[in-house]
Symmetry: C2
Subunit: 128 residues, 2 copies
DNA sequence: CTTTAGCTACGAAATACATCGTATATAATG
DNA sequence: CATTATATACGATGTATTTCGTAGCTAAAG
């Protein structure tokens, strides 16, 4: 039996994953520079975090050159699911519909987006 | 200008809020007993957590009797919004639609629920 | 070749959080 | 009245997370 831990990434790790997902791969420098637009911390902080993520297996890296290049080991989708499920459980009484309704209600959504949702909704109705 | 901190409740706090929301108000004993179904910890742990929440202003309490009765100071809806927004930001590239699509796609949703969503969707389309 | 700039490694401190043990007060029980 | 059960208060510990400073390596610039 293989150990199934699959720990959620932390806040800080999530911010870094975000950059890696957007760029496909990135150096510490790039990640740090990007994060600076959002938060404020030293370069070595970002570095350390990414090193920890590497040790955890959350990211891979190519260290054949001086500048190490990192890539995410988890997909955005898988992580989204992970957090969504957690959230549905702990905040929406287990009902994904509640979450959807709340999310739809909160934000103003463009016509384009409403269409996308309608399409998916139709598909779901089909399969019934 | 009033200080706008509004810190997110932690995991543990969320579990407690959940019970308070469901029961409207509750003693430490009740909260603890309920939590035991889900997690495993000592009574004083729950107590301490609730005391901290009180100090933070996350909950109120009636301590006129020996058994203190707690109530949530934040609504479920407000907290849901808080977490949803955070999540949309950090995991869904700012698009609530992405979140909705992902949430709908993951779980199997009953016909009843699909209808509810359809109703809201129609309303949103109307207001365009 | 020496200096400088940029990089990684790593220990250490600061912070946040969850957990528990012990002290103390008080109501209920016998 | 003494004992027991049940409350709250609170300090202390353990662990996770974040942050930073410093050391050491190497390539580029002078």
């Amino acid at each position: 039996m293989t150990s199934v831990k699959s720990n959620k990434p932390t806040e800080g790790e999530l911010e870094i994953l975000q950059v890696l997902w957007n760029n496909n791969k990135a150096s510490v420098r790039t990640v740090h520079e990007t994060l600076l637009k959002v938060k404020d911390c030293g370069y070595t902080t970002t570095l350390k975090l990414m090193q920890i993520m590497f040790k955890k297996g959350l990211v891979s890296r190519d260290d054949s050159n001086k500048i190490h290049i990192y890539t995410a080991n988890v997909t955005r989708e898988k992580t989204q699911k992970q957090f969504l499920n957690k959230m549905i459980d702990s905040l929406f009484a287990g009902s994904s519909t509640n979450l959807v309704l709340q999310a739809l209600g909160n934000h103003k959504t463009s016509n384009e987006e409403l269409k996308k949702i309608q399409v998916l909704l139709n598909q779901l109705k089909q399969t019934k």
